[in-house]
């Protein structure tokens, strides 16, 4: 029995060492191409066949810790940059948070979800214990009543539509389609701003978002246009967090 226990301890030690190495690698990741993300090349992008919004402006991650309701609410109430709940950034906009320069990036995802792990790793940024801000502007062909924002996120996230907080889901969770759903709301004819704060603890991190109509069917009539998209910054310009 003792021998068996020693073997377990040995295997566990090896596994732990491997995990630590992997974790260290992910914390200061090499600039791996974001295989699921591309730079937008069109002025406007329709939602995918299932209604998912595939074009976003995402800010490079901010160090943050805590996934409980109160911890996340506390994180998002902290001011990281001016007008953080109203600003509509442009691709390539830069700002400083806690002495670290961060950049907004316009991205299209080839999937239903936006892989923030790919995003951060491509910038050589941390993927664990971080907060991501994401913004998009959707265009509605007409006023739409009784629709719901419907999201999934890894991990906790808080969402705003036209400046109103409409969803908060908390805890260490994986992205599940339609995990968090808002109460019924009205989308204006024309542009509407959707904003998210996603907090990751450790490991993979991503989110997905779409709107559901009054019958809980995906809204497919919306498009996204984020204005001018700048050229992808060269790897040399990518900043690392200290």
């Amino acid at each position: 029995m003792n021998m068996h226990f020693k073997q377990i301890k040995f295997v566990a030690a090896i596994a732990l060492s491997s995990l630590l190495l992997l974790a260290a690698a992910s914390e200061v990741a090499a600039q791996t191409p974001p295989v699921t993300l591309t730079k937008p090349t069109s002025a406007e992008k329709a939602s995918n066949p299932d209604g998912f919004i595939q074009r976003w402006l995402v800010l490079e991650p901010i160090a943050a810790n805590g996934l409980t309701d109160s911890a996340v609410q506390s994180l998002i109430k902290k001011e990281y940059f001016p007008n953080q709940l109203t600003v509509i950034p442009r691709d390539g906009d830069e700002l400083t948070v806690g002495g670290t320069e961060l950049t907004w990036h316009a991205v299209d995802t080839v999937n239903y979800n936006v892989n923030l792990f790919h995003f951060a790793r491509a910038q050589g940024k941390k993927t664990s214990d971080v907060l991501f801000w994401a913004v998009t502007v959707i265009n509605c062909p007409r006023e739409m009543r009784d629709v719901r924002l419907s999201i999934g996120s890894n991990a906790a996230s808080v969402w705003w539509v036209n400046g109103t907080e409409v969803i908060g889901i908390y805890g260490d969770r994986q992205t599940v389609i339609d995990d968090g759903v808002s109460k019924r709301l009205t989308l204006n004819k024309g542009p509407n701003v959707v904003r998210a704060a996603i907090v990751n603890g450790g490991g993979a991190t991503d989110f997905c978002a779409r709107f559901l109509d009054a019958e809980d069917k995906p809204l497919k009539e919306i498009t996204v246009s984020l204005g001018e998209v700048r050229a992808m910054p060269s790897p040399a310009k990518t900043r690392r967090q200290p």
Binding site: G171, D178, V181, R184
Partner: protein
């Protein structure tokens, strides 16, 4: 002193047990024997029993004595076809010599100017010699063919089937020989479900109070004329019949099944118990949910008051207050080995546990961190936390049994102050266990937990058990709503109110004992 304490603890435990065991049968004056299928007419529910008795209810929950029938025979049954109510009622003139008579009326409301029973003559009979006793009629309109059928009979011989003219209610062909479809039973009636005809009959002895062996059994056939075979392959013509419902708890001798289809897949059945021990052993009416399992009808039970985990069948997540949860027993910590040692190889650590049972979460303690006012409602993984445990209790007024029709009586559904009920069930309030936090519907069809129950109709909830045993949960009223909505899961983490879709699992809820 110790004895007093032990006795007090026992009484407390007993009180909790009794409260959690309460099944809420219908209320008011419900004494009746051999009730007809409950039927709805002009805003009221009616049933008629042996001896011409009748019961009427405005909401299906609180009942009162109605106007007797002009014929005071045995075990009537009634159906609505076209602009007429067809009522069949039997009378014995000898041990097995009997006639089944037809009565028709344009309405069942005695206050209507159209209320007038008209005799339609004899539609079936037994001559006292043949192997049948023509009583206990059960009328059935085949939904697939619109043909009208009557089953009848008692223990003397066969249960028989004859075809009626749906335009008149009379025999379609008086010279056609009746079909023999079952034996050794009575109170027969037929229903149709998912391609099968089901014959429900009552076996056992009636009319012996708490010593009655009445029980309802069923067989099924692909043709309306049979053969009706039970779950073991026994033909009902040879005494077969799968048990549908027998005596249980404190109600003895269920008999005289009658289907009430509320639509959208929600079904109930009426019956009587030969003896309700809580009502002095009287024969009483009851209305219960009807479920279906593996192609057979199953008698559901009315909702019991108690504390539940309310779980969405669609998502598997549980309804909860939108507050930060706190792990039962505290956050996991690394511990030493439990007293006496843990399982081999475990030692201590976060998997070791405390070595003793963890008590339920103290809601009085954790709720101090909750907002004082309204709190949103959402869904989450069930973790046995205080904000996930809902106490569901009926909301009833103290009945004035001596004068139930008094408009000032709070038990009278016509009184706006009455909480009322629905067919076979009262309304319930839903509160977080150990608190007054009350689930309520809001304008716009959303949900909120109010700080306290104040009795408003948006705080009263109707529970309809569905065919699969799950529950549809519906507020009595929604502020400024145009149509009824039911509790619905939208996504994994959010609950709302939405139009009921019988084909979806979004509005099906499981009530689990935490």
């Amino acid at each position: 002193m110790k004895k007093i304490l032990v006795t007090a603890i026992f009484m407390l435990v007993a009180a909790v047990f009794i409260r959690d065991s309460l099944v809420f049968a219908i209320d008011g004056e419900i004494r009746i024997h051999d009730p007809s299928t409950v039927i709805f007419c002009d805003g009221k529910y009616y049933t008629y029993g042996t001896g011409g008795t009748s019961l009427v209810s405005d909401d299906g929950w609180t009942w009162r004595r109605g106007v007797p029938l002009p014929r005071r025979g045995l075990a009537p049954d009634v159906i609505h076809i076209g602009d007429r109510y067809l009522l069949y009622i039997a009378a014995n003139s000898g041990p097995t010599k009997a006639d089944i008579n037809l009565l028709t009326n344009k309405t069942l409301d005695p206050n209507s100017p159209d209320y007038k029973w008209e005799e339609g003559g004899v539609v079936a009979s037994s001559d006292g010699i043949e192997d049948c006793n023509a009583i206990d009629p059960g009328v059935f309109l085949d939904p697939t063919t619109r043909r009208l059928w009557l089953t009848y009979g008692s223990y003397f011989g066969y249960i028989r089937l004859v075809e009626l003219d749906p335009k008149t209610g009379k025999r379609l062909d008086p010279n056609e020989k009746p079909h023999n479809i079952a034996i050794n039973s009575e109170a027969s009636i037929m229903i149709y479900h998912d391609g099968w005809y089901y014959l429900l009959v009552t076996h056992g002895s009636c009319c012996r109070g708490a010593d009655s062996g009445y029980n309802i059994r069923a067989g099924r056939a692909k043709n309306v004329t049979g053969p009706f075979i039970d779950n073991m392959g026994v033909d009902m013509i040879q005494g077969g019949g799968k048990l549908f419902v027998g005596s249980s708890g404190r109600v003895i001798g269920p008999g005289h099944f009658g289907l009430f289809d509320l639509g959208d897949g929600v079904q109930r059945f009426s019956l009587h118990y030969e003896a309700d021990l809580d009502k002095g052993g009287a024969s009483v009416l009851d209305i219960r949910p009807l479920q279906w399992k593996d192609g057979w009808p199953v008698a559901g039970e009315n909702l019991r008051a108690g504390t539940y985990q309310v779980e969405s069948l669609r998502t598997g997540t549980a309804l909860e207050l939108a507050v930060e949860g706190f792990p039962v027993g505290g956050r996991p910590v690394r511990r030493g080995p439990p007293p006496g040692g843990g399982p081999p190889g475990t030692g201590g650590g976060i998997f070791a546990g405390t070595g003793k049972p963890i008590p339920p979460q103290d809601v009085a303690e954790v709720s101090t961190k909750w907002p004082a006012g309204n709190i949103d409602v959402r869904m989450g993984n069930y973790l046995c936390q205080a904000q996930q445990r809902w106490t569901i209790e009926p909301v009833t007024s103290a009945a004035d049994a001596a004068n139930p029709a008094n408009p000032a009586n709070p038990a009278n559904p016509a009184n706006p102050a009455s909480p009322g009920g629905s067919l076979g069930a009262p309304y319930f309030k839903i509160t977080i266990a150990g608190t007054n936090r009350t689930l309520a519907a809001t304008e716009g069809g959303e949900l909120v937990a109010l700080p306290a129950f104040t009795g408003g109709p948006e705080q009263l909830w109707r529970f309809d058990q569905l065919a699969d045993g799950s529950w549809r949960i519906m507020p009595k009223a929604i502020p400024n709503a145009k149509a009824p909505l039911v509790l619905s899961a939208v996504g994994s983490s959010f609950a709302t109110l939405a139009k009921f879709d019988p084909m979806s699992e979004k509005q099906r809820w499981l009530l689990k004992t935490p």
